[in-house]
């Protein structure tokens, strides 16, 4: 494997182009960059397993209670969900633009891209808030006041969804989208920090690693939503 061997001792690396961001235990900037990148990818692998447990629970109950889940799925707002999907896709674009801007020393574009990314993230959360409020008003939040009576099972006229099974759907809905939203909030925090660093002019074409690895995190959160949207919102949308 073509891994870096340098263990951080050579004095030459320090005397050459000593980047103030180079940490002392690394031999050269490339090694530090590669370490940060690998670290973020490995962290994202742990996040795959974190969400994976929820997808596992979802898969099992959807199989067991398909009709009830379909009825519950139909009751959440597909328009808002699709809009949010588009919002996140736009934000992924602004993220890659931000990385490109950092690579090519385009400070203004970098700042604008980071700012728009945050704006889109806030939009996502805002729309999510509207959705949650809708669910609260309709008594679809699991707990004492949960109610899901007389909801027809799509494709089975005359049959009504079992409210208890529907409650399972909503439990998963809130946990999965809630955890996703928490990751969005953390992402916003990360991008705010990136914005501040960019404003202070800390990023150069030689060193902009935080933008790259922050971008990786954001794209991952986008990918989770790419799966959440069809699984939660689109079980059965036959008119």
């Amino acid at each position: 494997m073509p891994d870096n061997f340098a263990a951080g001792f050579s004095e030459d690396a320090h005397s050459e182009s000593h980047n103030p961001a180079l940490l002392h235990h690394f031999a050269e900037p490339q090694q530090q960059r590669d370490a940060a990148s690998l670290g973020m990818w490995v962290f994202l692998a742990t996040e795959v397993m974190f969400f994976g447990g929820l997808f596992c629970a979802y898969l099992i109950y959807r199989r067991w209670y398909f009709g009830d889940f379909a009825a519950a799925s139909k009751s959440i707002n597909m328009g808002l969900g699709a809009t949010n999907t588009a919002v996140l896709i736009c934000s992924s674009l602004t993220v890659v633009l931000a990385v490109w801007a950092a690579q090519t020393a385009r400070r203004t574009l970098l700042l604008i891209s980071l700012a728009i990314t945050m704006l889109l993230g806030l939009t996502f959360l805002g729309i999510k808030g509207i959705e949650y409020r809708e669910k609260f008003v309709e008594h679809h939040v699991p707990g004492a006041s949960f109610s899901f009576e007389n909801e027809p099972i799509p494709g089975h006229p005359g049959q009504f969804a079992n409210p208890r099974h529907a409650q399972l759907f909503f439990s998963l809905y809130f946990v999965m989208t809630g955890l996703h939203a928490l990751h969005m909030i953390i992402g916003l925090g990360i991008f705010l920090w990136l914005f501040i660093m960019a404003w202070k002019g800390r990023f150069t074409p030689e060193w902009h690693t935080p933008v790259e690895i922050g971008g990786l995190y954001w794209h991952f959160v986008d990918i989770v939503w790419i799966y959440l949207f069809p699984l939660l919102y689109l079980i059965d949308r036959h008119p």
Partner: protein, 97 residues
């Protein structure tokens, strides 16, 4: 990720962006069609294509300097499928006989 790129990556980014939006519209449309048990498969396939595009082009897995990045991605997916698949050996066969 290096300083000198042969040509601008921007066209690729915008192409992927459009593809992702089209994919989203497609998946919403497909959900309105009655494909029986294939609705789920279609939805997941489109989602996987979108996810792959994001990973390959936005996260720069394609053209990554090392196989290690791809190995990490593959490993994560492998263990995810292990979790889902082996758990399903229980749930899928509980009612047999």
């Amino acid at each position: 990720m290096s300083g000198h790129s042969k040509s601008s990556p921007l066209p690729t980014y915008f192409a992927v962006f459009i593809a992702l939006l089209i994919g989203t519209a497609l998946t919403v449309y497909a959900a309105t069609l009655d494909l029986g048990r294939y609705n789920a498969a279609v939805a997941l396939t489109i989602a996987s294509i979108k996810a792959t595009l994001v990973a390959l082009f936005f996260m720069h897995v394609k053209g990554a300097s090392e196989k290690l990045t791809k190995l990490v991605v593959v490993a994560a997916l492998f263990f995810l499928f292990l979790l889902l698949g082996l758990t399903m050996t229980d749930y899928a066969t509980r009612l047999w006989n």
